[in-house]
């Protein structure tokens, strides 16, 4: 049986609105059930790749294709991508004063459920699910009574991203530098949260600068992104090599 790739990126080129070309021909295939790590130095295009996949404005794809579950991902607006099961954990989660966290999450979840033709969750059902998942991520319930990310510590914001992922149960999760700014305890909590969400029908792409997250979440594949291209791919041992030799050892852009 032919398995259809969860995500298939071919020769992706993208530039910023100001004309600077950031992605210069990315090829990447991710199967359901897999965890991939994309590593690269600052300015290699990691966050641009995440932004282009999630549909953020301010980028122009100039060549290439992105196929997600058999569909043209780039043709879908950002909100539709999310309803189709794509999740981006933000490197810098946005503070939204005046919007209650709980309300926000329930609105998002119900938008996705409606899209899938499932009944919306009422407040009680929603709360029960919330409580279970909160415990797993060591998040206090009063955090959810506040406005989205307002007054959250750096670690709380990152945990909140993984909590949202747990609630929304995406098909494809892209974690953009979710490990940055976390101390070792918070990193462990976040990593456990990610591990718990590994599933045969779900793919996870972790974008990171450092190898340390990979000590806790073991990837199936590791890619090195350099100068807007993937210059090396391998299994988890590639991450350890990177740690030893630095990014300079890879690719011609070094």
């Amino acid at each position: 049986m032919m398995t259809e790739a969860m995500l298939d990126i071919e020769n992706l080129h993208a530039r910023l609105d100001d004309g600077r070309e950031i992605l210069k021909g990315i090829d990447l295939a991710v199967e359901a059930g897999e965890v991939h790590a994309i590593m690269g130095p600052n300015g290699s295009g990691k966050s641009t790749l995440a932004a282009v996949l999630a549909g953020r404005e301010g980028y122009e794809v100039t060549a290439g294709t992105v196929t997600y579950q058999g569909r043209d991902l780039l043709a879908m607006p950002a909100d539709e991508r999310a309803r189709e099961g794509l999740f981006l954990a933000f490197q810098y989660p946005v503070e939204i004063p005046g919007v209650n966290n709980m309300y926000f999450l329930r609105t998002a979840l119900n938008a996705q459920r409606r899209h899938r033709g499932e009944p919306e969750l009422d407040a009680g059902q929603f709360l029960r699910t919330v409580r279970t998942k909160l415990k797993e991520l060591d998040i206090s319930e009063d955090l959810l009574q506040r406005a989205v990310n307002v007054g959250f510590s750096g670690g709380e914001k990152k945990r909140n991203e993984i909590f949202q992922m747990a609630m929304l149960e995406p098909r494809l999760a892209i974690l953009d530098e979710t490990d940055s700014g976390l101390d070792i305890d918070a990193l462990r909590v976040v990593a456990n949260g990610v591990n718990r969400q590994r599933a045969p029908d779900r793919a996870i792409v972790m974008i990171t600068h450092y190898q340390r997250l990979l000590n806790y979440v073991e990837p199936d594949r590791v890619h090195v992104l350099q100068g807007g291209r993937i210059v090396e791919s391998g299994d988890k041992t590639l991450a350890a090599q990177l740690e030893q030799r630095g990014y300079g050892a890879f690719g011609d852009a070094a």
Partner: protein, 437 residues
């Protein structure tokens, strides 16, 4: 009957001259007040847009199609009173088309020392209060509509609280328009709060049809008196709402006012505060949401004449469609009014390219030991926040509304009463659903 007029009359004032004198049987002192007020209005006419106070309000539609007051009355319907008002309100006074409606009102027993009733009833029972109400703003040059109001008022409410009375239950006033008469409704009101007394006022302005509501409220707070007023303006689509309150604050008095302005083709919410007693507090808050062709103006003037006064102003505005919003705030600190602490903030959100918002906070300071500041901003929806909502699957239109609501919600949070706050937010949500982007 054609009236004999022996004073100059501006063209646009003419339709309002004859109709202003239909109050037969009133005492002489009041008739004289009315006559002087009418002369002031007739001479001045509509306020000039060349002057600062009225420059953002376009009244040409009213000039073209005048709305003189009428003596005929629309029928009052009880049906939707509880959806308009605050459910279970113990003290509710209802005005329909500018007149007290005894059958819709619910005036339960009030503590000793409280007088609460219609302005018309007070003319007989408490002329001193009516006189105080009518004198409010009579010395102000740039308030011709307050003069017209004094000349033409049909009714209103009067609340008088003796010293040392704390009213726990709020006093509710509903200002309705039946839609049966196309006219102007001039209402004159007074709330006088005695020393150490406190009260909460909740007022809702709503109706159907084309009408012009011209509401004047005098607030008189004695030493250490506290008054907390929450106003909801949700007038009919074609209605004009021009409302002003004139407050005088005694020593250590506390006035807080919150206004949510949602409906009406033309809405002007004006506050004039005389902070005369040492250490008085004045909190003016509010928000507007204007859409389609609405124009909404918020105008505040706070005059600090005494030491250690404190003023806080926070107003948020949203204009969408072809709406035009404006905030004009002025805080004056007179010579010798030392240690005044005043801050004014106006934050605004523009939705779409055809909407406009003007904001003009001003400080005039003539004392040297004060802490005064102001801030103003007009901006678009936060793109980063919008993308965050989209990235969670919330459809774009819904995401935009969530952010607009959140923007105003921050202002509504100032209302302490949770049930009242929820009610205001529910009205806001209903209004957002028909927002023109």
């Amino acid at each position: 009957m054609s009236a004999v007029v022996d004073f100059p009359v501006k063209t646009e004032a003419r339709p309002y001259i004859d109709t202003a004198r239909g109050n037969i049987g009133e005492p002489d002192w009041l008739a004289q007040h009315r006559r002087r007020a009418l002369a002031r209005f007739a001479e001045q006419g509509f306020p000039s847009r060349r002057g600062e106070a009225w420059r953002y309000l376009d009244l040409r539609a009213l000039e073209a199609k005048p709305l003189p007051p009428t003596s005929s009355l629309g029928p009052a319907s009880r049906a939707n009173l509880d959806t308009i008002g605050f459910p279970g309100s113990a003290h509710r006074l209802v005005l329909v088309d500018g007149r007290f409606s005894p059958e819709l009102s619910a005036l339960s027993e009030l503590p000793a020392g409280v007088w609460f009733g219609s302005t018309r009833a007070a003319i007989e029972a408490r002329p001193d209060l009516v006189e105080a109400a009518v004198e409010a703003l009579s010395q102000q040059r740039d308030q011709p509509f307050a003069s017209l109001n004094a000349a033409s008022f049909s009714d209103g409410f009067v609340l008088d609280i003796a010293p040392g009375v704390a009213l726990d239950e709020p006093i509710e006033i509903l200002h309705l328009a039946s839609g049966e008469v196309s006219a102007s409704f001039h209402t004159r009101n007074l709330a006088r709060v005695g020393a150490d007394s406190r009260v909460r006022l909740i007022e809702t302005f709503t109706g159907t049809g084309r009408y012009w509501r011209n509401n004047v409220l005098a607030l008189r707070l004695a030493d250490r008196a506290a008054l907390d007023r929450v106003v909801m303006v949700e007038e009919a689509e074609d209605a004009l709402h021009l409302a002003i309150f004139d407050a005088v604050l005694g020593r250590a008095a506390r006035l807080t006012s919150f206004a949510l302005l949602l409906g009406g083709e033309t809405v002007r919410h004006e506050a004039v505060v005389h902070s005369e007693g040492e250490g008085a507090f004045c909190g003016l808050y509010g928000a507007f949401l204007a859409s389609h062709h609405q124009q909404t103006n918020i105008v505040t003037t706070v005059d600090h004449a005494a030491e250690r006064g404190e003023t806080r102003e926070v107003f948020k505005g949203v204009a969408a469609g072809r709406a035009h919003g404006a905030f004009q705030g002025r805080i004056t600190v007179r010579p010798g009014a030392q240690k005044v602490d005043a801050h004014m903030l106006s934050r605004n959100l523009l939705i779409g390219r055809r909407a406009a918002i003007d904001t003009k906070p001003e400080l005039e300071i003539f004392a040297d030991d004060v802490k005064c500041s102001h801030g103003a901003a007009v901006g678009d929806l936060d793109e980063a926040a919008l993308f965050y909502l989209l990235a969670r699957g919330i459809p774009r239109e819904q995401a935009r509304r969530i952010l607009i609501e959140a923007f105003i919600r921050e202002a509504v949070e100032i209302v302490e009463d949770a049930a009242l706050r929820e009610r205001l937010l529910a009205r806001l949500a209903r209004r957002l659903a028909v927002l023109e982007e």
